[in-house]
């Protein structure tokens, strides 16, 4: 009987990659995120959903300490990556961001060539010893991002000359070039048309076998399509966190049900 279950992509979901305990985030006097406790599994796509201003992007940016660049933002609580607290004073955010890559909402390739875009990360982190290794990394990243065949003849043309979907895939290639362990994506498809969105979602599904992916999205349908675990944020609280199929067919918390069925915004 069990052999006829819908077959998921064959992947070994390991234990927790990132854990958050009692995370509070303040923007000046505003208490933006309250008491967030969550475990993010390895080799899994975790989606953060919720209405605008609920704190999901804020929490995402805590995971790679991008909130450090905002002077009035204060983060309390413990967030660990592989059991190491990333807010420890010994941790250099620059080093953290090589392990935790980020893709942003609006595709923002550097105004350099496609090759230089992807090669920048490995170069500054000293991951390669010579040009041949760098070429190999660039090709591998572009292949993983399903962009190689489209750009292999024009690696020196500017990254900004690609279409929207291609630019976002270039940004993904750039983010995975440093071989991160976790990939954070902040509404990566919101600036793309449906076909490009579907291509990026298929890409995320493929990347899942190598990284842990955390994706913030304001489209519930996208969360349903692409993730295995979903966390629902509302007014700064993490309301519910569970397996995606369960959340979308039978959520436990009434607030989750209201949001998913489109009764609250």
């Amino acid at each position: 009987m069990n052999d006829m279950r819908i077959v998921e992509r064959d992947v070994d979901t390991s234990p927790n990659k990132i854990t958050a305990r009692g995370v509070q985030v303040y923007y000046g006097a505003t208490h933006a995120l309250k008491d967030v406790d969550v475990n993010i599994l390895d080799k899994t796509v975790t989606a953060f959903i919720g209405p605008s201003g609920c704190g999901k992007s804020t929490f995402l940016r805590c995971l790679n300490r991008m909130n450090d660049t905002i002077p009035i933002c204060r983060v309390e609580g413990a967030i660990t990556l592989d059991s190491e607290n990333i807010y420890d004073s010994k941790v250099d955010p620059v080093q953290l961001r090589a392990k935790v890559g980020m893709v942003f909402q609006k595709p923002n390739p550097f105004p350099k060539s496609i090759y230089d875009n992807v090669a920048y990360g490995p170069k500054i982190h000293g991951l390669t010893r010579n040009k041949a290794e760098l070429d190999a990394i660039v090709e591998k990243s572009l292949r993983k991002a399903a962009l190689w065949n489209e750009v292999k003849d024009r690696l020196s043309s500017p990254g900004t000359g690609l279409s929207g979907g291609q630019q976002q895939r270039l940004c993904i290639a750039r983010a995975i070039a440093t071989s991160p362990e976790v990939l954070l994506m902040d509404e990566p498809c919101s600036a793309l048309d449906p076909i490009a969105t579907a291509q990026v979602e298929e890409l995320i599904d493929e990347l899942r076998s190598q990284f842990s992916v955390v994706i913030v999205t304001h489209s519930m349908q996208q969360a349903a399509r692409v993730s295995q675990k979903t966390a629902f944020f509302h007014l700064g609280y993490l309301v519910e966190y569970g397996e995606t199929g369960e959340i979308f067919t039978n959520p436990k918390d009434p607030r989750t049900e209201s949001y998913i069925t489109g009764r609250i915004g």
Binding site: M1, M4, I195, A198, E201, D205, R225, T244
Partner: protein, 241 residues
Amino acid sequence: MNNEKHIASVFDRDLEAIQAMIMKMGGLVEAAILESSQALETRDEELASRVIKNDKAIDALEEQINTECARVIALRAPTAQDLRTVLTVMKIAASLERCGDYAKNLAKRSTVLAQMAAIGGSAGSIRRMAKAVELLLKDALDAYIQRDADLAADVRVRDREVDQMYNALFREFLTHMMEDPRNITACMHLHFIAKNIERLGDHATGIAEQVIYLVTGAMPDEARVKGDTTSYAMITAEGGK
């Protein structure tokens, strides 16, 4: 027919999975019908009890199909052909589950009948009816696999013959029961068996109609040909009309 793959391959995998499940269920039900009619003919009690036990698997499969279809609708938001595929799978699963129940009932009654004398001629008619219905179900499922709307329309038409056979059997049983009251027990069981087989044919027709809905996007226009007139049949002691 759109044979291109979805950009998100997981969607294709989901659809293939639920269709594989329905195919498996169809196979189980076809086997159940074959075995139960065989058990009836050869009075094989062991075969009959196997059919009764295997019905659990059919019921569990229907439940599983429903859960997975709900999941596909929630997570994938299918539209157009994909939506009709999922809805059709759910409805066919329901029909097949009922068919499985009828086959189980057939097997149950055959154990009783095995201990009684045969009623003249009825065994042959019932065997013919069962064969016709097995063919209907097979064709309906084939029409689903091949997305063949013409074959499905044909199934709808052929159900009429099954109905006619049932009409004849009904009158025959009435006659036998009026002739000799000792025949009543056997005839009643046989009658219910014939009724089950006729309902099987109706469900096969229902499956065929779902296939037409899947392929064309609309249920068939003409009403189903209802050949079953036993609701109005009457036989008096002087001789039937």
